[in-house]
């Protein structure tokens, strides 16, 4: 690798803790995929955007779907167009040349790109274990075969690979063996403060402080199924910030508005409402 080593140190809208920065840099230098786990809404996907932004690299996102096969992520052989062309023959494509009908999908695009890219494989746990196993070889060899044309596509520049997973359970061992791993823990209040500052540079200080305190309190309610995460807090602050009634930061002691932004399951919403009303009474 003659390219000068670039280091990642955060982006304009992403607050990076030093631990994660080190891990990202090590993974990039070792050319190993980085597997990120953590509660939904703690910025796993955002990290890839942030790296792309700060290093000025192109970001290619593969959104994994439950029915996906690995081959769908590599390339597509457009049978239907070819069938159509062979029947009607009214296109400029050469029907006898199968290559005309091979299109690169996300992983293929990342491999064939002239520049080093960032490949985000988002929510890999959605697909079944076969998908992960098939992915192994490709990540290992950095190349794949196009069966139809018997061609081998290998990566021009090894892309930086970020893989995210929401699963509580582990991915298969061989797969893990080829990745570096990090679990993004839920940020502490002080970290959260700087995240809020980055997103709302002009927000009322008191409002931010109260909102964060209330947020952590609501998060700790017993028995909540989907606890609100950073994403929810940001959205909530955005809502509060636009509402003139709360903008001044007076809130919140007795009234917690827009609970629906934080709690999206009806049971959770009820629990949170109960918690808030009870606080008002006593």
């Amino acid at each position: 690798m003659t390219e000068e080593r670039k280091n990642f140190s955060g982006a304009s809208k992403y607050v990076l803790d030093s631990e994660l920065a080190q891990i990202v840099n090590v993974s990039m230098a070792l050319e190993m995929p980085l597997l990120l786990k953590g509660e939904p809404g703690t910025g796993k996907t955002m990290l890839a955007y942030a790296i792309a932004e700060s290093l000025g690299m192109e970001l290619i996102i593969l959104n994994v779907k439950s029915s996906m096969k690995v081959i769908d992520a590599l390339y597509q052989y457009d049978t239907l167009t070819r069938l159509n062309d062979s029947r009607f023959g009214d296109s400029t494509r050469d029907v006898s040349d199968i290559k005309e009908y091979i299109k690169m999908s996300k992983i293929g695009q990342a491999f064939t790109s002239e520049k080093r890219t960032i490949l985000l494989i988002d929510e890999i746990d959605k697909a079944d274990t076969d998908f992960q196993d098939d992915m192994l070889d490709i990540l290992d060899q950095m190349q794949f075969d196009i069966i139809e044309t018997d061609e081998v596509v290998s990566a021009n520049k090894r892309p930086v690979i970020i893989i995210t997973s929401n699963a509580k359970k582990d991915l298969s061992d061989p797969f893990l063996g080829r990745c570096n791993f990090h679990h993004i823990a839920f940020p502490e209040a002080s970290m959260m403060k700087s995240i809020v500052d980055v997103h709302f540079p002009s927000i009322d200080k008191k409002l931010a402080k109260n909102a964060i305190a209330t947020f952590y309190e609501l998060r700790s309610i017993e028995g909540i199924e989907k606890r609100p995460a950073t994403r929810e807090l940001i959205n909530w602050l955005r809502a509060l910030d636009t509402d003139p009634e709360f903008k001044t930061g007076k809130l919140i002691k007795n009234k917690v508005p827009f609970l629906g932004v934080l709690f999206k399951k009806s049971q959770d919403y009820e629990r949170a409402t109960m918690h808030v009303t009870r606080r008002k009474i006593f």
Partner: protein
């Protein structure tokens, strides 16, 4: 390098592969790791592949590298220790003298400054760190001045450094929550139940069947004929039989509640029935086991492909299971022992499991668990057990 560290990690049960250890060496070679903190994070990300082991890793790391980190701040440390010792001396001179193995009188003649010098000298005498033993400073020994020693009034050394070192971070054990032995949560159950599905074609024919289309088109001599197909939909039928009676099930109510909630959300075709301890002639559709009885014999009319999940502690008096009128409710005594009913269920539905909230290591102590285990494949109601039971249910 760090080979002992590697083996220590394996020893405590973290699955660290040699390959990943070599990767770590590569990272060291390339000069990517320049400080203790770097090493802590990089080694964790390279060696440890699940947050469940982070806590263990922290403990091993703290244990392995604590000494090194302490060495870095020797001067500072000794100053602080001396302060502590001085404080201890002022509070209880007798004990301090005893700990140092010196005569109290002799020490009390010293001026405070001399005393501090003396303490420092004693501390510096220590050549390197040692663990155990009953002298000087170390961890876990009976030494008065060490980390978690047994000695009354012993002082705590670990983690006094001013900077937040990697060892300090490791000592904080931030990942305790994620370790393996936490209780089952709804999300976990969801993860496990997702595997439970039976895909069958259903609904309108709106998906283009490419292979079929090509086949038909060629049969037509090149005239394109489009073939459509149905989507695959999940049509799994599930019967949930829950033991909700008696004190013995009380501790498990919340975990069963969440399993129940989740499966209701997850599966469209799910029937739930309740029983107490074991099954006799009837089960009930209402949790109070009163209003809506359902005859066991009726189960025969249901689809035999239905997956049957029994949940209960399977713990009762043996006669409840074996005797002809074993039920503790007179009204439900029928002449057939419960064990026959259970056999009937497991024969009717060949895909069946029994989930038991009682920990597996306790099973051998209850006879009825042993008996029922022979009728139904029994699994512990934990993440691992749930996953195994799903595999059992989906087996052909």
């Amino acid at each position: 390098m760090f080979i002992n560290f590697f083996y220590k990690l394996r020893e405590v049960g973290i699955p660290v592969s040699p390959t990943s250890f070599l990767t770590l060496q590569k990272a060291l070679d390339k000069g990517l790791i320049n400080s203790m903190d770097d090493f802590y994070t990089s080694a964790r990300s390279i060696l440890v592949k699940s947050e469940r082991y982070f806590d263990l890793y922290d403990q091993v790391f703290a244990n392995r590298f604590e000494g090194i980190a302490l060495d870095d701040n020797d001067g500072l440390l000794i100053d602080e220790m001396t302060q502590e010792m001085l404080k201890g001396w002022l509070e209880d001179p007798k004990e301090m003298a005893e700990m140092l193995g010196e005569d109290e009188e002799k020490l009390s003649k010293l001026t405070p400054d001399e005393l501090i010098e003396y303490f420092k000298k004693r501390l510096e005498d220590q050549d390197g760190r040692h663990d155990g033993g009953s002298k000087w400073i170390g961890t876990g020994g009976r030494s008065p001045v060490g980390h978690s020693g047994h000695h009354k009034g012993g002082m705590r050394v670990g983690g006094v450094s001013k900077n937040k070192s990697a060892v300090k971070v490791a000592n904080e054990r931030r990942y305790k929550d994620y370790s393996r032995n936490r209780p089952l949560t709804t999300a976990d159950i969801g993860e496990a139940l997702k595997r439970l599905r039976n895909l069958v074609p259903a609904g309108a024919k709106d998906r283009l069947d490419i292979d079929g289309t090509i086949y038909q088109t060629i049969r037509n001599g090149g005239e394109i004929e489009l073939i459509f197909d149905q989507h695959m939909k999940d049509r799994l039928k599930i019967i949930l039989l829950i033991d909700n009676g008696g004190w013995s099930m009380d501790p498990y109510i919340s975990v069963i509640q969440s399993l129940f909630d989740y499966s209701k959300a997850q599966f469209k075709d799910i029937k739930t029935y309740f029983f107490h301890n074991t099954v006799y002639d009837t089960v009930w559709q209402d949790p109070s086991r009163f209003k809506k009885p359902f005859k066991i014999d009726e189960f025969v009319r249901l689809d035999p492909d239905t997956r049957l999940i029994m949940i209960g502690d399977a713990s009762m008096a043996p006669y409840e299971l074996m005797s002809q009128d074993g039920s503790i409710y007179i009204s439900s005594r029928s002449g057939q022992p419960s064990i026959q009913r259970l056999n009937f269920l497991s024969e009717t539905f060949k895909h069946c499991v029994w989930l038991n909230p009682v920990p597996e290591r306790m099973w051998p102590y209850t006879r009825t668990i042993q008996t029922i285990k022979e009728i139904f494949p029994m699994f512990e109601l934990t993440i691992n057990g749930l996953e195994k039971s799903i595999a059992q249910l989906m087996a052909k």
